[in-house]
């Protein structure tokens, strides 16, 4: 019974604004968790430090977004306590609103960098728009996150170029990663009703503008990396933004949520 009640945290309280915040928070949380899974497993010490620090930035951003979402949900329900931790650890996969791209498994280093680059190139342009949001809380979280995301993009771009324009082996792997991940990029660029509502309210930027900038960034970096850009018209998987996920998310959440779910009354970790 408790699980049923917890599962409904998201479902019973969603408005376009909380949905928008869950998308932002879940993208950061799920990608951050992918980084956390690499702790102790990165190919080199320096890259381990970098991956963990990028993940930490993302967790911090997730806490800011989900914290705001939780406040709105708690105000709406007026009774139950909702906080960022509850949203992170007590929702099931179908209640997550992250992009399919960020939940894709770690694979090899080219997969990790490819996923990060495709996301960063979108994230900076989105955050740039959100920093001018009509919602001041969103604007300040976005302005803070933008600095971090800009630096993430710098790192992931450099790696895409280094691997793409590197050895035959690194080029092959980087191209393969790109080709595999490309099918999850469609929903980054396609606005749905939530995106439209946020745009109309001046809360979030036009995704078409973000898409144009994303394409420009991707094209510039891939060209320098001597990599071939897959077609924008390729068939794309979608659904992450409305809770229809690939099978990978469930496994990620099972690991991430195990402790808080096993010990729901714990107050000290």
């Amino acid at each position: 019974m408790q699980n049923m009640a917890q599962k409904n945290i998201a479902q019973t309280t969603q408005t376009p604004l909380t949905d928008c915040l869950l998308r932002l928070g879940d993208n950061a949380l799920v990608l951050g968790q992918r980084h956390a899974q690499l702790c102790g497993k990165a190919p080199a010490l320096e890259e381990e430090l970098a991956l963990m620090n990028v993940g930490l930035d993302l967790f911090g951003q997730a806490r800011n977004w989900l914290g705001y979402a939780a406040e709105l949900m708690a105000a709406e329900r007026a009774t139950d306590k909702v906080d960022a931790d509850q949203l992170a650890f007590r929702r099931d996969a179908q209640d997550f609103r992250n992009l399919l791209l960020v939940e894709q498994p770690n694979g090899d280093f080219a997969d990790i960098i490819g996923r990060q680059f495709l996301f960063d190139a979108w994230h900076v342009h989105l955050l740039d728009g959100l920093a001018h949001s009509s919602d001041p809380r969103i604007a300040e979280v976005a302005a803070k996150s933008l600095k971090e995301a800009t630096y993430h993009l710098r790192r992931s771009s450099e790696w895409v170029i280094r691997l793409g324009d590197g050895t035959e082996e690194s080029h092959t792997r980087m191209q393969r990663a790109l080709n595999n991940l490309w099918q999850f990029t469609g929903e980054l660029l396609q606005a749905d009703e939530i995106d439209q509502a946020m745009l109309a309210a001046g809360i979030a930027p036009d995704l078409q503008t973000v898409a144009t900038r994303w394409k420009a960034t991707v094209e510039e970096v891939l060209e320098e990396a001597t990599l071939e850009r897959p077609s924008y018209d390729a068939w794309m998987y979608t659904g992450g933004k409305v809770g229809h996920h690939t099978e990978h998310l469930g496994f990620l959440l099972a690991e991430m949520q195990y402790l808080p779910r096993a010990y729901p009354d714990a107050t000290v970790w």
Partner: protein, 194 residues
């Protein structure tokens, strides 16, 4: 601990700003109030960053505002990075230091905007970083410094040589990058521009 009277927002305003910051700090405190702010600053000067334990929270530039709400001291603190794991610890240390100094029930508030920038590191803070073996930020924070379009020469904090190279965009914490000196061959952390 402090004279009575209404104190308008007493901003700390001797730090340079950049166009990234969008500074909203308005004016220096009026004469007669600076003493109160100075007394608080003197306490906070002993609260050190747990990850770089030579630099105080004041020198780091994360104490953004000192004010009084009726008789209650309010200190606004901004995090360096969204995910900085030291944020809560630092706020707790500030609270403890103020209570120990006799301030009753001080309020520590977290403020995100304007976002922290390394431009707020004081000159003394920069010098302390250098003597601790961490190269302080070179130049000021800008979009170009973040995107890597203008990578500065980072002198080695150990031997002063300018023959250095970046090994990784991240060092031991999010606020640092990892460098190596080609003269003395030592690796070192660079407190990068943000």
């Amino acid at each position: 601990m402090r004279p009575s009277g209404n104190h308008p927002s007493a901003s700390i305003d001797n730090w340079p700003s950049s166009d990234l910051i969008g500074s909203d700090r308005s004016g220096l405190p009026r004469a007669g109030e600076q003493g109160d702010v100075d007394a608080v600053l003197a306490v906070l000067q002993h609260v050190l960053d747990p990850e770089v334990p030579v630099v105080s929270v004041v020198e780091l530039g994360i104490v953004r505002d000192i004010d009084w709400l009726d008789e209650r001291l309010v200190v606004n603190v901004t995090p360096t990075y969204s995910g900085c794991p030291a944020t809560e610890v630092i706020e707790q240390h500030i609270l403890e230091a103020l209570v120990a100094a006799g301030y009753a029930d001080p309020l520590i508030q977290r403020r995100l905007s304007p976002a922290w920038t390394t431009d707020w590191l004081t000159d003394v803070g920069r010098e302390k970083l250098r003597s601790y073996g961490i190269a302080p930020p070179v130049g000021s924070a800008s979009k170009r410094s973040l995107t890597g379009q203008s990578d500065p020469v980072v002198p080695c904090p150990l031997c002063g040589s300018e023959a250095t190279e970046r090994v990784s965009e991240f060092g031991s914490t999010a606020c640092k990058a990892l460098y190596r000196c080609r003269d003395c061959l030592e690796p070192f952390d660079y407190f990068k521009c943000l």
